[in-house]
C-alpha cells in the first residue's frame, strides 16, 4: 500500500514539470506583447530593450525556463507587472479565498449530490427518480454565472437578505459567511448535478450485479444491503468528487467575477485583462499543482476502499 503511494508521488513529478512547461510557454504563445502592455506607448526602442533585459526576455527559451523554474520551486513567482507586488502574495490571498469557497460549495454539492443520486438509484424509474434526475440535469445545464445573477436579483436586490459582492468588509466570521452564501450556491450547482448523475449510475451498476441479489437472498436487511452498494459505488464516486473539487478551484472564474469574490478566478480574470503574465502563470501553476495533488489523494483513497486497485 505505502509503496503504491510512493510510486504515485514520484509519478506526479513529471506531470507537474509538464504543467510548468506549458505555463512557461504561455508567455510566448499568448497573443500580444507583455512588454508593450506595460510600457508607455511612446517608449523608445532602447527603453523597451532595457525592460526586456531586466525581465530576462532576451535569453534563449530553455535558459529562461530553467531560471524561471529555479525561482518557482523556491516560491518566487516573480512580480506582478501591473501592481509590482510579489505574485506569491497575491496568489496566496486569492487561493485562501478560493479554497474556502471551493470547500463550502463542494461540501454542499457532495452532500446534496450523493443524496440525490442514491435516492434516484434506489427508486429507479419511479417519480422520485425522475424528480432527482431532473434536478441533476438542471444543475449541469444552467450556466452558473447566470444562476449567480439570478440569485443576486432575488436575495440581494429584491429581498435584501444577503450581500451581492465581495468578501467580508469588517473581517468578522458571520459577515464573511454571509458574503459567501450566494457564490457557494451558484458554484455548487454544476458539481451537484454531475455528482448526482455519477452516483446514480454507479449505484445502478452495483445494484444490477448478482451479489446484491445474493445479499438479499441471505436475508440481509435493506440498510445493510444499502451499505454494501454504497461501498461498492464509492471508488467511482470519489474520483468524481476529487475532480469536481479541482474544478471548483479553477473553474470559478465566472462566478467569482459575478460576485467580485477575491479568489484565484477573480485574480485570473484580472490578470488576463491586464496581460499580467507573471500573475497568470502563478495562478495557473498553483491551481495545476493542486489538481495533481488532489488526483493523487483520490487515487490513494480508492486503494483504501477497494483492495483490488492497488494490485493492478
Amino acid at each position: 500500500m505505502w509503496r503504491y503511494v510512493g510510486r504515485r508521488l514520484v509519478l506526479a513529478i513529471p506531470t507537474l514539470l509538464g504543467a510548468s512547461i506549458i505555463v512557461f510557454a504561455m508567455v510566448h504563445l499568448a497573443p500580444g506583447d507583455p512588454i508593450a502592455a506595460v510600457m508607455p506607448v511612446d517608449a523608445s526602442k532602447e527603453q523597451v530593450e532595457a525592460v526586456k533585459k531586466a525581465y530576462g526576455f532576451d535569453q534563449p527559451l530553455p535558459v529562461q525556463y530553467l531560471k524561471w523554474l529555479g525561482r518557482v520551486v523556491t516560491g518566487d513567482l516573480g512580480k506582478s507587472i501591473a501592481t509590482r507586488r510579489a505574485v506569491i502574495l497575491d496568489v496566496r490571498d486569492a487561493l485562501a479565498n478560493s479554497l474556502v469557497l471551493a470547500a463550502s460549495s463542494s461540501l454542499m454539492a457532495f452532500v446534496a449530490g450523493i443524496a440525490l443520486g442514491l435516492l434516484a438509484a434506489f427508486r429507479q424509474g419511479r417519480a422520485l427518480d425522475k424528480i432527482a434526475s431532473g434536478i441533476a440535469v438542471i444543475g449541469v445545464s444552467v450556466p452558473h454565472y447566470w444562476a449567480g445573477i439570478i440569485l443576486i436579483i432575488i436575495f440581494s436586490v429584491q429581498l435584501n437578505w444577503l450581500p451581492a459582492m465581495g468578501a467580508a468588509s469588517d473581517g468578522g466570521v458571520v459577515d464573511y459567511a454571509r458574503h459567501m452564501a450566494l457564490p457557494t450556491i451558484a458554484l455548487a450547482l454544476i458539481p451537484l448535478g454531475v455528482i448526482a448523475r455519477v452516483v446514480r449510475s454507479a449505484a445502478l451498476d452495483v445494484l444490477a450485479q448478482e451479489f446484491v441479489l445474493a445479499l438479499r437472498a441471505k436475508g440481509l436487511a435493506h440498510r445493510r444491503v444499502f451499505t454494501h452498494v454504497v461501498k461498492n459505488a464509492a471508488p467511482q464516486t470519489i474520483t468524481v468528487l476529487g475532480l469536481q473539487f479541482g474544478f471548483q478551484l479553477g473553474g470559478s472564474v465566472l462566478v467569482e467575477a459575478v460576485f467580485s469574490w477575491p479568489g484565484t478566478g477573480y485574480l485570473l480574470n484580472l490578470a488576463i485583462f491586464q496581460r499580467d503574465i507573471p500573475v497568470l502563470q502563478g495562478v495557473i501553476l498553483v491551481l495545476a499543482t493542486f489538481f495533481v495533488l488532489l488526483n493523487l489523494l483520490v487515487d490513494v483513497l480508492q486503494t483504501f476502499i477497494d483492495p483490488r486497485i492497488a494490485r493492478h
Binding site: Q209, A214, K218, H222
Partner: protein, 339 residues
C-alpha cells in the same frame, strides 16, 4: 408435512416486447431432506422458479401468481421483514458464479459474519468463531487465511465453498443450488458436488438443485423435474426418469448427453431452439422441435399424465405410448403436482 409446496406458480415479466411468461403453472412438493433436481436448458424457467421461492423478484414489472408455501406460509403474502427472516434462515441459495455473487470489496469473513449478525444477533467475536467453524465444515484448508481474504484473492473452488458456508451459516432447512458447479473447473466441479452431497446427508438438508447436466442430477438427486418453456414437462424419481423417460424432450436431452459405457454412440442434438417466452404456442411448447409431433400437440396444452406412481409427463402421446402401463387408468389430472 411437506417443507415446500409450490402450487400453480407463474411468473411474468413485463418487457418492451411484451409479457415474458418465464414460469407457467409450476407445481411441486418437497419433503424435509429430499433432493430435487430441476433440469432444463437456459431460459426454461429454472432459476426464476428458485427466485420465486425466496420471493426475490423485483416488485415492479413482475407478476407472480400461485402459491409458494414454505412450512405452510405463503412467501408471497409475507411482509418484507418476515421474508428476510426466511431468507438465509430457513431457505438459502448458492449461486452459479461465486465471483459475481460475492461482494468484491468485503472479506469472506465479513460476508459470513454479517449473515450471522443479521439472523442470530451474534456479536463479532462469536460470529468470527462460527465463521471459522463453517469454513471447516465446507473443508476449506486454511480457514483463517480464507476469512481475511477478498473474493478475488482465492480460487474459484474456494469461493464456491465460501458461498456454501454463507448459505449454511444459519442452519437452513432448504438449500437452493442454482447450477453451483457450472462455472467451475471440471475437477473442482466433482469436489463441490461431493461436498454438497455430503453436507446434505449430514445436515439432513432438503435441496433443490438446478442443473442442465443429467449426470449431476443422477449423482445427487432423489427426484428430478424437467422444465421446458416455463413448465415442468416431466417429473419422476431420478432412476425412473433415466430408465423410462416419458417425454420426448427428456429423451432428447438424454440422447444429447455423453454417458458412461456408451462409447461410439453418436450424440443426437435436439433440432431447433427453445421457445420464445413472449409468444408461447397454444399447444405443447416442445411441439415445434418434437420428433413425434401430432396435430393435437400444436393445438391444446397436454395435461399431466401419470405414467407410474410418482412419475408424470405432460405429453399428449403418453396414453398411446404407455398403453400397457396400469397406472394410466387413473391418469390425466389436469393440473397439480406429483409426489
Amino acid at each position: 408435512m411437506s417443507l415446500l409446496s409450490v402450487r400453480d406458480l407463474s411468473v411474468e415479466f413485463a418487457t418492451r416486447d411484451g409479457a415474458v411468461r418465464a414460469v407457467n403453472a409450476v407445481s411441486f412438493e418437497l419433503r424435509p431432506g429430499q433432493v430435487l433436481a430441476l433440469l432444463g436448458e437456459s431460459g426454461s424457467g429454472k432459476s426464476v422458479t428458485l427466485r420465486s421461492i425466496l420471493g426475490l423478484h423485483p416488485p415492479v414489472r413482475t407478476r407472480v401468481g400461485g402459491e409458494v408455501l414454505l412450512k405452510g406460509r405463503d412467501v408471497n403474502r409475507l411482509d418484507e421483514q418476515a421474508r428476510q427472516a426466511l431468507r438465509g434462515g430457513v431457505v438459502s441459495m448458492v449461486f452459479q458464479e461465486p465471483m459475481t455473487a460475492l461482494d468484491p470489496v468485503y472479506t469472506i469473513g465479513r460476508q459470513i459474519e454479517e449473515t450471522l449478525v443479521q439472523h442470530r444477533g451474534l456479536d463479532r467475536a462469536a460470529a468470527r468463531r462460527r465463521a471459522r467453524e463453517l469454513l471447516d465444515l465446507v473443508q476449506v484448508p486454511s480457514p483463517e487465511r480464507c476469512l481475511a481474504s477478498y473474493p478475488h484473492e482465492i480460487s474459484g473452488g474456494m469461493r464456491q465453498r465460501a458461498m456454501i458456508a454463507i448459505a449454511l451459516a444459519c442452519e437452513p432447512e432448504l438449500l437452493l443450488a442454482d447450477e453451483p458447479t457450472t462455472a467451475l473447473d471440471v475437477t473442482v466441479q466433482a469436489q463441490i458436488l461431493w461436498l454438497l452431497r455430503d453436507l446434505q446427508r449430514r445436515l439432513g438438508l432438503a435441496v433443490i438443485f438446478v442443473t442442465h447436466d443429467l449426470g449431476v442430477a443422477a449423482e445427487i438427486a432423489d427426484d428430478a423435474a424437467v422444465m421446458y418453456g416455463g413448465r415442468i414437462v416431466e417429473q419422476a424419481p431420478v432412476r425412473e426418469l433415466f430408465r423410462a423417460p416419458a417425454h420426448p424432450y427428456t429423451e432428447g436431452l438424454m440422447l444429447a448427453t455423453v454417458r458412461r459405457g456408451q462409447k461410439g454412440r453418436a450424440l443426437v442434438p435436439i433440432p431447433g431452439a427453445p421457445p420464445n417466452l413472449v409468444a408461447l404456442p397454444p399447444g405443447c411448447a416442445f411441439a415445434p422441435r418434437c420428433p413425434h409431433v401430432k396435430p393435437p400437440c400444436l393445438e391444446t396444452l397436454p395435461p399431466l399424465h401419470v405414467v407410474a406412481p410418482g412419475h408424470g409427463s405432460r405429453c399428449h402421446l403418453v396414453p398411446a405410448r404407455f398403453a400397457s402401463s396400469p397406472a394410466l387408468a387413473s391418469s390425466a389430472t389436469g393440473r397439480g403436482g406429483l409426489s
